[in-house]
């Protein structure tokens, strides 16, 4: 069965690779936003040097890593969840259920394929642009890059697991658009996409860092910036893996409850 899910990952990748114009437009958008946020951060760090413990170069690196991961983490849509919700609402999900493949495994594989493409197609170029325009604090050590890659991979699983729960909500809600938008806003805020979580004041910062969304940007960025290194970096990965396991288990549980409702939609 492993071969099958691997094949789904590959198809998920190729599927998004077919939309070249959309990818180019996305790269352009990420780069423009990266520039805008960079200049805002420069102004901010000028007033408050070492905000959140970052130097200006580290803050700018954080901005571009954020832009590079935005699409891969499906922070503003583009993931599988809207498609899954459509299938639930139309009753087409029944087709997915009688096949000898697991619903969660199938969508996870497809979404990892998508994330891998978005990472390459929409992640690399903006970060390279950022590195050309600004002085970024990118590490030289291949080990750090390897840890960063692991942190990103675990982050995409956490991102999937949250969105799988969102997608399943369509079994109860006739229109899931509201939930999806709420997830975006909460995700953008608590992942640290708007402002690094370590710049959040007091308890809010501590809580935000403990929530699963931090796995989508704050944790990978801190691993790359070597704010978390050595044993602490491994602890960061364990934190992500823990949330991934909990959220995937929750999704599995909810899937069991939800599939008993199949018939309600689509007769």
């Amino acid at each position: 069965m492993g071969g099958f899910y691997a094949a789904v990952v590959v198809r998920g990748f190729r599927r998004f690779a077919t939309y070249r114009v959309a990818t180019a437009a996305g790269v352009f958008t990420n780069t423009v936003f990266g520039l805008i946020i960079s200049y805002s951060y420069i102004a901010l760090w000028d007033q408050r040097p070492h905000l959140g413990g970052y130097t200006e170069a580290q803050a700018l690196t954080y901005v571009w890593v954020g832009q590079g991961l935005l699409a891969a983490m499906a922070q503003m849509g583009g993931g599988f969840e809207t498609e899954m919700m459509e299938r639930i609402n139309s009753g087409a999900i029944a087709v997915d259920l009688y096949r000898p493949a697991d619903l969660q495994g199938w969508w996870l594989a497809a979404d990892l394929g998508r994330a891998a493409f978005q990472l390459l197609g929409r992640g690399v170029v903006p970060i390279a642009c950022g590195a050309l325009v600004f002085d970024l604090a990118l590490p030289a050590s291949p080990l750090v890059w390897l840890l960063f890659a692991a942190a990103v991979a675990l982050g995409t699983v956490v991102s999937f697991a949250i969105r799988f729960l969102v997608g399943l909500s369509a079994f109860w809600l006739l229109d899931g658009a509201g939930v999806v938008q709420m997830t975006w806003i909460v995700g953008l805020f608590f992942s640290g996409m708007l402002l690094p979580l370590n710049a959040f004041p007091g308890a809010l910062g501590d809580i935000a860092q403990a929530l699963p969304w931090s796995a989508m940007l704050q944790v990978p960025a801190d691993v790359l910036l070597q704010r978390r290194h050595g044993a602490d970096a491994l602890l960061a990965l364990a934190f992500e893996a823990g949330w991934a396991a909990v959220l995937l288990a929750a999704g599995r549980l909810l899937q069991g409850v939800a599939t008993r409702r199949v018939v309600v939609h689509g007769g």
């Binding site: 071969g3 099958f4 094949a7 789904v8 198809r11 190729r14 599927r15 077919t18 939309y19 139309s90 009753g91 087409a92 029944a94 087709v95 259920l97 009688y98 096949r99 000898p100 493949a101 599939t259 199949v262 018939v263 309600v264 689509g266 007769g267």
Partner: protein, 322 residues
């Protein structure tokens, strides 16, 4: 494996009850309604048979098919498909059945047809030789050759439907459920799909359960038809028997030599007149010969013809009676 004597599909006193909560008008509390989608259904389908399963919308057809695939668990009674209890052992059953929903697709929208088939091959772990053989057969019979490398989103409805049917057959299912496989297709595509299904049934001995609103599908493919309404089986038998069961009538159209007042003949009922032509209805089971003889004895006839009842009318009458 089922023994050859055992039926491929056995449904015994099956019930499916849904609790539907509905907001009562002007009240905050929601009321519970119990809906009996399937109510004491029993039938068997022997291996290799092709059966039509028809009924009006909401009759319980889809609910039955969902129970036969294991997606739904019956509230009562027993279901066995290929000797397997579908809701208990859905994964094992899924390798032995194929399902096509006319209005839904299993194909991967953004990728070529070939990619979806590759996924099916891995999902069902089909051996290479068997996969190649089955794909070649489907490609030939369904004219899929030029379509294999076209992304599914660019296919027409008829092409997509053919693609979906092929996807459901690559793993050699013993049972095939088809839910409205010809819906929305043009005449040529419908004929192609029907021809293919007939071949699959004849050559591979695949047991087929076909749900449709297009009675031509049934007339061209199935020797047996089951009619369901309000979750109960209203009729189970040959197509011919439907006429008798539905109290249907044949029509005798008579052209007299001149305009006449409505004629009265025993065994027939005057329906309408148009100049010298009159329409007389008589039970579908009776012979037209004595009727014609009686008419000819009384009035000079110019021409006559007998019209068979349309199967649509027969079934509409049956639905109406339930």
């Amino acid at each position: 494996m089922t023994q050859s004597g055992e039926p491929m599909i056995a449904v015994e006193d099956v019930e499916k009850v849904f609790d539907v909560r509905r907001k009562a008008a002007g009240r905050l509390r929601r009321e519970r309604h119990r809906v009996r989608a399937v109510d004491g259904l029993s039938f068997t389908v022997p291996r290799g048979e092709m059966v039509g399963y028809i009924g009006p919308n909401g009759a319980g057809k889809s609910t039955t098919i969902k129970m036969l695939t294991g997606i739904l668990t019956p509230s009562g009674g027993r279901v066995l498909v290929a000797g397997i209890d579908p809701s208990r052992d859905r994964a094992r059953l899924s390798r032995r059945i194929g399902v096509v929903f006319g209005q839904r697709t299993t194909l991967w929208w953004d990728l070529p047809l070939r990619d979806s088939y590759q996924l099916v091959r891995r999902m069902y772990r089909i051996e290479d030789a068997r996969y190649a053989r089955n794909l070649a057969a489907c490609v030939e019979l369904l004219d899929l050759g030029p379509l294999l490398d076209v992304p599914v989103r660019q296919l027409s409805l008829g092409q997509r439907m053919r693609g979906d049917i092929a996807a459901a057959l690559l793993h050699d299912p013993e049972v095939l459920y088809l839910d409205e496989p010809t819906i929305g297709l043009d005449v040529v595509s419908k004929a192609k799909v029907r021809g293919f299904l007939r071949t699959v049934n004849a050559e591979r001995g695949t047991t087929v359960l076909l749900t449709t609103h297009d009675l031509t599908d049934i007339e061209t493919l199935c020797s047996r038809v089951m009619v369901i309404d309000h979750g109960r089986l209203m009729y189970d038998g040959g197509l011919d028997g439907l006429h008798a069961a539905g109290d249907s009538e044949r029509t005798l159209v008579v052209d007299f030599a001149r305009e006449l007042p409505p004629v009265e003949v025993p065994g027939a009922r005057w329906v309408r007149s148009e100049g010298p032509r009159q329409w007389l209805a008589f039970p579908a089971g009776d012979s037209a010969a004595p009727l014609v003889a009686a008419l000819a004895a009384r009035h000079p006839l110019v021409d006559l013809s007998v019209r068979e009842p349309a199967i649509e009318d027969v079934i509409a009458r049956m639905y109406g009676a339930a």
